[in-house]
């Protein structure tokens, strides 16, 4: 039997995908602003984030309404509750992009500290994780989501490596401290982006398999 409820669920999904597109774009543009020292683009990232914030509120609103009015059960219930969590993760990814953009603005005021190698690599990993987590969501592929979760360790390792490197810069020459700290922050924000992607992936597994795979390594 056709249910008009299915259309409401589809609308919710589309809104999440729109958020996902904006979150991905935010991270990509923040990185571009950092690497190309493009201040205008960095400012644009901050401005664009307002759209993502608005969408998050809108998704929450829809979710509350669907919970109250449709009394969802089973996979509908998991979809609606996970939609609310995923939208929160996407909104946070947008915030990380804004933080990176702000650091990019600060860094562009000074000469480059070192060629950026690890940061673009971290960004590439983190963005790939967002994309795959979202693909897993759209195409109902919990196995792909599981694989995303395992990739978080790689980003964490890159972050640790970069921290060690930047620490050594600061020890050798205190004039690098401000720049090194800004780069450390960028790296930490990218590490957080990967964490949000991991959370989305875990939520996708729960959505399709009703299995909670969080906190299994603790």
């Amino acid at each position: 039997m056709e249910r008009h409820f299915d259309q409401e669920l589809e609308d919710l999904k589309q809104e999440l995908l729109r958020m996902a597109g904006l979150a991905e774009q935010g991270v990509a543009q923040a990185l571009k602003a950092l690497i190309q020292r493009d201040d205008a683009l960095a400012r644009q990232v901050t401005a664009d984030d307002a759209v993502l914030d608005k969408l998050e509120m809108d998704v929450d609103d829809r979710v509350i309404k669907l919970l109250a009015l449709r009394q969802p059960t089973a996979k509908d219930l998991r979809f609606i509750t996970m939609a609310m969590k995923i939208s929160g993760e996407l909104e946070r990814i947008g915030d990380q992009a804004v933080s990176i953009a702000k650091r990019a603005l600060a860094l562009s005021q000074e000469p480059s500290l070192k060629p950026l190698v690890d940061i673009p690599q971290m960004a590439e990993h983190a963005q790939g994780m967002i994309r795959d987590a979202l693909d897993a969501f759209v195409y109902a592929k919990p196995d792909l989501a599981r694989a995303v979760v395992t990739r978080d360790a790689r980003v964490d390792a890159l972050n640790d490596q970069l921290h060690r490197e930047l620490t050594s810069f600061m020890i050798e020459d205190p004039r690098t401290i401000t720049r090194a700290l800004n780069l450390m922050t960028v790296a930490r924000k990218l590490e957080r982006v990967a964490d949000h992607a991991t959370n989305i992936a875990e939520e996708v597994v729960y959505l399709y398999e009703a299995r909670d795979i969080r906190h299994q390594n603790q």
């Binding site: 039997m1 056709e2 249910r3 008009h4 509350i64 309404k65 109250a68 009015l69 449709r70 009394q71």
Partner: protein, 289 residues
């Protein structure tokens, strides 16, 4: 404080209107927050009071039902919701002890006046009841019954109305090959959809539904609910239900009644996510009722 009911002008004089002292009433409930500015009113209930003998069942009800929307009347047993819906097509006139005052206007014209043709009114207000009530005749004849009364006998017209009504009632595909078989052989859910098809065949101005799913199993209920959703826009539906979740699922607006008074009237979303009145909240959250 007591209120003396005023006599209405001739055209609006209720059949059994009396001047009588009533207890202070919550006029209009707390409908203050609801804006119907974007809605056209199909039916307006104006200061409506009703008594069964000495017992007052409805107190100063003021309510505007929007056109093309589904409005649910909810509340615990005895709150007056069924009494109100049965007043709209004057079914309460059949009970001797019933008296009422106030007015109801369907598309602007009073429907409670002495000079209102009640048979005509019931054609303008299709009704579906809790217990399915197909007539002991064929599916086809059931659907066009209201038109037969009107003397419509042109086969082409009737055929077209049968198909349109059954399609709108989501029943056409299931019965198109046995239109001339008895309606009594159908399942309960099908019978109820047939009753809906019959109720809409004469293009009523409002479609009244009094607990239309309470005798049906969950699948048949889901089908009727989906149907009600699809009838939105085409018809103005007023549904009485003791199933709050059903009200939440199918309606655009919800009116909560308690002890004969309209307590709160608002969008269904508001009533079920953030009602303005504590009694409404206690009821929709299952704390009483």
């Amino acid at each position: 404080m007591t209120t003396l009911m005023e006599e209405k002008p001739a055209s609006a004089t209720p059949t059994h209107a009396v001047s009588v002292a009533v207890a202070p009433a919550v006029t209009g409930g707390s409908a203050g927050g609801l804006s119907l500015a974007n809605e056209e009113t199909v039916l307006e209930v104006d200061q409506f009071n009703l008594w069964y003998g000495a017992k007052q069942a409805l107190f100063d009800v003021n309510l505007k039902f929007p056109r093309g929307k589904v409005t649910a009347l909810i509340g615990p047993s005895g709150c007056g919701k069924s009494t109100l819906i049965r007043s709209i097509n004057r079914l309460n006139d059949l009970i001797d002890s019933v008296r009422y005052s106030g007015d109801m206007r369907l598309n602007g014209a009073s429907i409670l006046g002495r000079n209102v043709d009640v048979i005509e009114l019931r054609k303008r207000t299709g009704m579906v009841f809790q217990k399915t009530n197909p007539f002991p005749m064929s599916i086809y004849e059931n659907v066009i019954y209201p038109l037969r009364i009107d003397g419509e006998n042109r086969k082409s017209v009737l055929d077209e109305i049968v198909e349109r009504s059954l399609r709108r009632a989501a029943l056409w595909d299931e019965v198109k090959d046995r239109l001339h078989e008895s309606a009594l052989q159908m399942s309960g859910g099908q019978q109820q959809r047939l009753c809906i098809a019959r109720a809409i065949s004469a293009e009523p101005e409002v479609l009244l539904m009094d607990e239309p799913c309470s005798a049906l199993d969950p699948i048949a209920t889901a089908k009727i609910e989906e149907l009600i959703y699809q009838l939105k826009g085409l018809y103005s539906v007023i549904i009485v239900t003791h199933n709050m979740q059903q009200a939440a699922r199918v309606s655009d607006y919800t009116a909560f009644f308690y002890l004969g008074r309209l307590i709160e009237y608002d969008t269904t979303e508001k009533i079920f996510t953030n009602p303005g009145n504590k009694q409404t909240e206690d009821y929709v959250t299952g704390r009483f009722g």
